[in-house]
Symmetry: C2
Subunit: 128 residues, 2 copies
């Protein structure tokens, strides 16, 4: 899973298209394993294990009602993931372009001193 921390578990869980499809389904309604398996091209044991991964990441909770096990989407971990990504919004949000440019300039200046000291020749602000 790469890391064992919560965020790693969540991103890792989201990295699989089958699991994302399951979450899409669960966003519409709670569902049993059989229901979740139906539209998928894999076996039920495989789905069962995907659900276990989602559960470990706390992306779903599970209920039991007789022979059926229901899965329900839990949003909290998604919020954590969204919060993490959001710190990089200035790298894609055009409305922040000006601010981004300004911050970059300030940071470049701040680093200038350090750089002069140990001369790491970083290709900073170089075009690709």
């Amino acid at each position: 899973m790469a890391g064992t921390d919560q965020l790693s578990a969540v991103f890792s869980a989201l990295a699989d298209p089958t699991r994302r499809a399951i979450l899409v389904e669960l966003a519409e309604h709670d569902a049993t394993v059989t229901e979740l398996t139906a539209p998928l091209p894999i076996s039920m044991p495989a789905v069962s294990r995907h659900l276990k991964v989602l559960e470990r990441a706390a992306l779903i909770s599970r209920t039991r009602s007789g022979k059926w096990r229901g899965s329900r989407l839990q949003g909290a971990p998604l919020r954590d993931a969204a919060d993490w990504i959001d710190r990089y919004r200035r790298f894609w949000d055009s409305s922040l372009t000006r601010l981004d440019a300004h911050l970059a300039a300030v940071q470049a200046a701040e680093r200038a001193t350090d750089r002069m000291a140990n001369d790491p020749k970083v290709p900073d602000n170089q075009e690709l």
Copy 2:
């Protein structure tokens, strides 16, 4: 990587704490492999491969300037990831609680007909 699609590559790349640390660093300034390796507890070849993963996910671009290879954060894939997660905002954003409840009710009603037909006994709206 689980899937080979773009989103899977991005989430998979983000699933590793070392790679997230690298992105944190790159959010402040472009950096060489040596600079990125310095604060990390792993070897330079290991970092080099992490960078390759990030590059495959298009989360960074790379420049070359003499013997140095610079890495630069690219935000676009993060926006894609953020957009995907954002579709689930109603599952954690309390300001959408009312709407969420309403949508859930509507959807439950819509499904009711189908459910009656093949009786899948879903533990819908069940407490955990």
